[in-house]
Amino acid sequence: MTQDKTSAPDGVVRYVDGAKVLDYLPHAFNVKPSSRYYFWLMAPALIVLAAISIYPFFWLIWMSLHNVGSSAGETFAGLKNFEKLLTDDKFWNGWILLFQYSGFCMFFEIGIGVLLAVILNGNRFENVLVTIFLMPMMMAPAIAGLVWYYLFNSTFGWYHWLLQSLGILGETSIIGSTDTAMAGLIIVDIWQWTPLITLITLAGMKRVPRDQLEANMVDGASAFRNFVSITLPNIFPFLLIGIMLRFMDNFRFIDVILALTGGGPADSTNVLPVYLFDVSFRYFKLGRGAAIALTLLIVTIILGKLLVRVFEGPASKRTDMGS
């Protein structure tokens, strides 16, 4: 079958196996819209974005430079709110705990999530099992926090009773000790969000080229080798999405922590977003809260960029190889 194309005033003329075919295009479709046209198309979205995001952002900056407290009236504070953060032990402790919390959650969620995806991929019960695994993710985080609060409770909690019966726990509940409370939060996060990583990884595994896998196996590679050399590099872009989502969630979500420990006991789970919530909406020091929020925002952006760069390397290399 041969094709040849020439343009005509009202469209495109094609010749398919010698037969003339005219694809008619209306005149308007050929006119390149002006930039003003695109601007008006985007205007509603820009207005909404400005209202819900840009305006509050500048308002946040304004508040960070003022004393805004529970009593009436605001006064200009300059950089005092930021200066106070330098000597605020809870602020720095919050950062350390946040990195611990986020790091452990991501490590286990990626590890278990990918493992589950490998097990589920191509399994005859894949659809049923994926549906079951996704259930925790469908639960509102605040509800998940309450459910686990009751499960961990030393007076009537079923998990506590089970772990105590097995001799793993004593009479102190997992969230009642400064040594184990963080582990309790991490368990809940892993339970709820590992399915997301599994789902994303599964989607990536469906796109791994079979020819590469088969060629590698013909060359005598083991299943493990196949996974490391072929599957893993191919799913890097998908993992990047999962890691970015979870990383930013961990820096934002405080529902479970507030329901389970409220940052305690003894500040052992007082990660920075929880401290930010306390400062802003419990102490009503909105100026200081705004300063903390800005630092959190800046660090999140920087870390996000770094993550993209780290994962972009292998992902783009793989794309280059493929092309």
Binding site: G69, S70, S71, A72, K90, N153, S154, T155, F156, G170, E171, T172, S173, I175, G176, S177, T178, L258, T261, G262, G263, G264, P265, A266, D267, N270, D278, V279, F281, R282, Y283, F284, K285, L286
Partner: protein
């Protein structure tokens, strides 16, 4: 869109235009419905001083108010019987309830943003009243207004229990009355009398004095009792632990927990201020002095022999632990007696629990030269009116506020879900007097002797600090005390950390 005769003289409406108009109307109606649904609505029939009492009550008939309150029995009971108020006034009141920290957040955001979505506010003295004092209306002007219905008993300090009006009604100045005492949570000791009787002889053999609870029982005795129960437990006996403290996630009750022990020893106070008024500039805190370090040390000693999950229990959870028979004593608020005496839910019910004042200070633990008292503290919940609301909404809200703190309603709440009266006259009712003895139809009344006849009287009663930074101050105490209890820092370090952070919060 629609059929149009050929000779029609009117302009037809296109489908697109019809949909645009329909969408606009629907949006406007939706927005309006949301606004009306969430906010208060005002209808007014003007009255004069000479108008009948009924006309004064009905002057805002058809209006709607929203009351944001804590999830405590008085609010549940008033909500259950809200029809009585509607019948008398024609005003609809929606009562929303939540945990106290959530109430503080919601009303704080509402008032700070200049709005009045909650014209009626539950203003507990320290977590809500002290930080947001600027935003509450002055009730004095309504009390003097003869076009509004007034309570026949009045609102003077003498009609309420000692210091209750000061606790929630006045913040930093007596020029403005910002709340009426609505409910009260006063601390006292709940203890398992059956267990005390059972083990008294064994205890006496070892400690050479009787295991009992009286107003003379000291914190040192509590430490001994708790140690004794722990030894029995470790010996494999089927007994509960002796005691547990208030920790968990409720910062303000941890502060109250250690404050009453501090006050019992030499009447130690957090700041050098008059607690009845509080202060917006409290100056340096007393934390870090010899007395505070000594009591922090004892607080940790008590924690070491208490229930092993001590740090996980907030005030509500602590009561559940007591109800489930896991501890033999708790210092708890008198509103919890109703749940402890509930035979369906409590292993401590059926006459097993007895009530006593908070423990007395131990003379040998006093370092500041003061006297030993039964340090008793409280949370006095006020009902206040949001100053951002319009004058008419404030007036309508006042009608509800006076209803909510009336003798009739307080008596009704006490006989229903178990209230905590703030008006003296309620306790004089014959039913209430009879209910102080078992079998009681009003379980909370079993605590009245320890609370109203003893605990709230001078010199035992401590109101606690009223400062704008209260919520941060409570959180500081909560975290540093828990670090000490968990063995992460010494009592000296804990007290110094509290002082440093508190003074910093107060811009010292």
């Amino acid at each position: 869109m629609f059929n149009k005769p050929k000779d029609a003289i009117y302009t037809s409406i296109s489908r697109r235009r019809f949909l645009e108009l329909g969408g606009g109307v629907a949006s406007a109606l939706g927005t309006g419905a949301i606004a009306v649904g969430l906010n208060s609505v005002m209808m007014r029939t003007p009255v004069q001083a000479a108008s009948s009492p009924e006309a004064k009550m009905k002057q805002y008939a058809g209006s709607k108010l929203v009351f944001m309150s804590e999830n405590t029995p008085p609010s549940f009971a008033i909500r259950d019987k809200i029809k009585d108020f509607y019948d008398a006034t024609g005003i609809t009141v929606e009562i929303l309830t939540d945990d106290l920290p959530v109430v503080a957040q919601k009303v704080g955001i509402d008032m700070k943003s200049g709005k009045a979505d909650f014209p009626l506010v539950y203003s507990q003295d320290k977590p809500i009243g002290a930080p947001f004092a600027d935003y509450f209306a002055d009730l004095s002007k309504f009390i003097k207004d003869d076009t509004l219905p007034q309570d026949p008993e009045g609102y003077g300090a003498d009609v309420w229990f000692e210091n209750f009006l000061d606790a929630c009604g006045y913040m930093y100045t007596r020029d403005k009355l910002m709340a009426f005492p609505y409910d009260a949570a006063v601390a006292l000791t709940f203890y398992r009398q059956d267990l005390f009787e059972k083990y008294s002889k064994d205890f006496e053999k070892e400690y050479k004095y009787r295991m009992e609870f009286t107003p003379k029982t000291t914190w040192k005795n509590v430490l001994d009792y708790t140690t004794f129960f722990k030894k029995l437990k470790q010996a494999g006996q089927d007994v509960p632990y002796g005691y547990a403290q208030h920790h968990g996630t409720f910062a303000w009750t941890t502060q109250l927990d250690i404050q009453r022990m501090m006050y019992a020893h030499g009447q130690w106070n957090d700041f050098k201020i008059d607690d009845r008024l509080g202060s917006q500039k409290p100056g340096p805190t007393n934390w870090g002095d010899a007395q505070s370090v000594e009591i922090m040390k004892r607080f940790k000693e008590l924690a070491d022999v208490s229930h092993p999950d001590n740090l996980a229990n907030d005030t509500l959870q602590l009561n559940t632990v007591y109800q489930s028979g896991q501890i033999a004593m708790q210092v708890q608020y008198h509103e919890f007696a109703a749940s402890v005496e509930d035979e369906q839910k409590s292993k401590a019910a059926g006459g097993k629990t007895a009530y006593a004042p908070c423990p007395l200070g131990e003379a040998s633990w006093i370092k500041n030269g003061g006297k030993a008292v039964n340090g008793t503290n409280c949370g006095i919940g006020g009902i206040s009116i949001n100053k951002n609301a319009s004058e008419d909404i404030q007036r309508a809200a006042f009608i509800f506020a006076t209803h909510a703190v009336s003798k009739k309603v307080q008596y009704s709440v006490l006989t229903g879900l178990g209230g905590t009266p703030t008006r003296k006259s309620v306790l004089a009712e014959p039913d209430v007097v009879a209910a102080r003895k078992r079998p009681s139809k009003m379980p909370n009344a079993l605590t009245f002797e320890a609370v109203y006849d003893y605990g709230i009287k001078d010199p035992h009663f401590v109101l606690g600090p009223k400062i704008p930074e209260n919520n941060e101050y409570f959180k500081i105490i909560h975290a540093e005390t828990q670090k000490c209890v968990a063995g992460k820092q010494s009592p000296e370090e804990a007290c110094k950390a509290i002082k440093k952070q508190t003074d910093n919060a107060n811009d010292i």
